[in-house]
Structures are given as structure tokens and as C-alpha cells.
């Protein structure tokens, strides 16, 4: 199955490449790329469907729900590097990534 590489998808892949080994939360990707949840999650779902993205549930803090985390698979990493955004088209990051080191 071929993945539609929209500018938003490239932005998401680029965001993952900034911290390739870290697990990242959806909200952090949204803040970093400026994509709304309605745009971001369909992209994440498609990436996960094509085995380019792995997902995991973070163990919950007391009184807070567990969070879903995302990380590129080795295949996803290769794919992202192949389609890496040119620096000129890359959106400047607004906030630092709240990535979770594995």
C-alpha cells in the first residue's frame, strides 16, 4: 500500500526524525508541527497501519490516564530519511520536544 505523502505527513515524519529513538506523545507532535489533532491522528493511523510507526501505552501516573506514545519503526526511519524535508520547507519548532527516552 502506498502512503500519500502530503506536506503534513512529511512534517510529521520530520518531527520524528528530530528525536529518532524517543517515544513521542501525540500532543507534543501537534505542538511541534502545528498540526491539529484532526490532521495529525489520521496521519499517525496511516503510518501505524503501514508498519512505519510503532505505538505504546505509557504506564500511568497516579490520577492520570496512560498516554499513547509513538516512535518510528526501523522501516519507518528509512522511509522518513528517504523523504526527509528540505530545511527551507521545515517548520520551525515552537517548543522543545517532550520526548520520552527509551
Amino acid at each position: 500500500m502506498k502512503l500519500r505523502l502530503s506536506p503534513q505527513t512529511l512534517q510529521v515524519l520530520d518531527a520524528f526524525l528530530q528525536a529518532p529513538k524517543d517515544w513521542i506523545y501525540g500532543y507534543d507532535i501537534s505542538r511541534n508541527t502545528g498540526l491539529k489533532s484532526g490532521t495529525l491522528y489520521p496521519i499517525l493511523m496511516r503510518l501505524a497501519e503501514r508498519k512505519l510507526l510503532e505505538t505504546s501505552w505509557e504506564t500511568a501516573e497516579v490520577g492520570r490516564p496512560p498516554r499513547h506514545m509513538y516512535r518510528l519503526t526501523p522501516e519507518g526511519m528509512r522511509f522518513a530519511k528517504e523523504h526527509h524535508l528540505q530545511p527551507a520547507t521545515r517548520r520551525p519548532a515552537r517548543v522543545a520536544f517532550g520526548g520520552v527516552n527509551s
Binding site: 501525540g26 491539529k36 484532526g38 505505538t55
Partner: protein
């Protein structure tokens, strides 16, 4: 918890309840993020966007599943109906073609060999445009009945329509 955040939470909670098992993990993921947002309005917009995302994800898949289920059960029937309709229409088309050809032939013969009396012309026309085509339709319908029934039905329908037309014509004139 503010009313706005409660609304956002309820919206995604409803999405969790109504989403398919495949998308439920994703809706839960979006819902859990709400608790980590500082702004209530950001939470509400997040929930609205998430609902849109789930809708975009689920509806085409649901539709695909539904069509897939239907294709197993009803696709055969639809195919049969399409084939029957095409056969019947082909039968009617052939009948109309035969009638037009017969009528055109009679007209052409009358132009080439002008008839001396009007009565003679009517008899030839009756024979060429009604009796001969009707015979062809009936014979063809009988021959095709076993192997190409829809086409035979089309021919029979045309024959019946032609007879009905003649009856109406004769009774009114």
C-alpha cells in the same frame, strides 16, 4: 474541571463508546491527551479535531466493510439483475430494429415500385410491418427461451406491444 474541559472529555468519551474496535485505541489515545493540556479551549479544539479524525478514519472503513459484506450476499443477485435487464433491453432493441427495417423496406419498395391502389399498399404494409415481424419475434422467442430467456422476454414484450398497438389502432379507426 471546567465546563469546557468536561464537554471536550464527554465528546471524546462518546467517540470511544461509538467507535469501532479498530479505532478505539486511537480514540483513547486522543482522549488521554486531554489531561495533559493546560488550556481548556485547547482541550476542546483537540477533542473536536479528534472527533473529525475518527470520523475520517472510521466512516470509509465502515463503508468498505459494509460493501464487502454486501458484495458476498447481494453482488450475485445484482449481477443477475443487470444481466436480465441487459438481455431484455437487447431483445426489445432487436425487435425495434426489425420493425424499423421492415417499415423502411416497405417504404423503399413503394418508392421504387409505386402501387396502383391504396388497398394493395395497406395489405403489403400489414404483411411486411406486422405479420412478418410478429412471426419473427415469436419464432425467435421460442428458440431463445431456454438459453437466453431475458432476450426472449424482450422479444415477447415487443410482440405483445405491437399487437396491442394494432388492436387499439383498429378499434379507434
Amino acid at each position: 474541571m471546567s465546563a469546557i474541559r468536561r464537554l471536550a472529555s464527554r465528546l471524546l468519551g462518546a467517540a470511544v463508546r461509538h467507535s469501532s474496535s479498530k479505532s478505539q485505541e486511537w480514540v483513547r489515545a486522543m482522549l488521554s491527551e486531554l489531561d495533559y493540556m493546560e488550556s481548556d479551549w485547547a482541550a476542546l479544539f483537540w477533542a473536536l479535531g479528534s472527533a473529525r479524525a475518527i470520523f475520517k478514519y472510521s466512516v470509509p472503513r465502515q463503508l468498505h466493510t459494509w460493501l464487502g459484506t454486501r458484495s458476498n450476499e447481494e453482488e450475485g443477485m445484482l449481477k443477475h439483475m443487470r444481466r436480465t435487464a441487459a438481455g431484455t433491453l437487447a431483445g426489445i432493441g432487436i425487435a425495434v430494429g426489425v420493425l424499423v427495417a421492415a417499415f423502411g423496406l416497405v417504404r423503399l419498395l413503394l418508392v421504387i415500385f409505386p402501387a396502383p391502389t391504396l388497398k394493395g399498399v395497406e395489405s403489403v404494409q400489414m404483411l411486411a410491418v406486422i405479420v412478418v415481424p410478429e412471426t419473427i419475434f415469436v419464432v425467435a422467442a421460442v428458440a431463445l427461451w431456454r438459453k437466453r430467456r431475458p432476450m426472449a422476454v424482450g422479444l415477447v414484450l415487443s410482440a405483445v406491444t405491437l399487437v396491442a398497438h394494432i388492436v387499439v389502432h383498429l378499434t379507434t379507426h
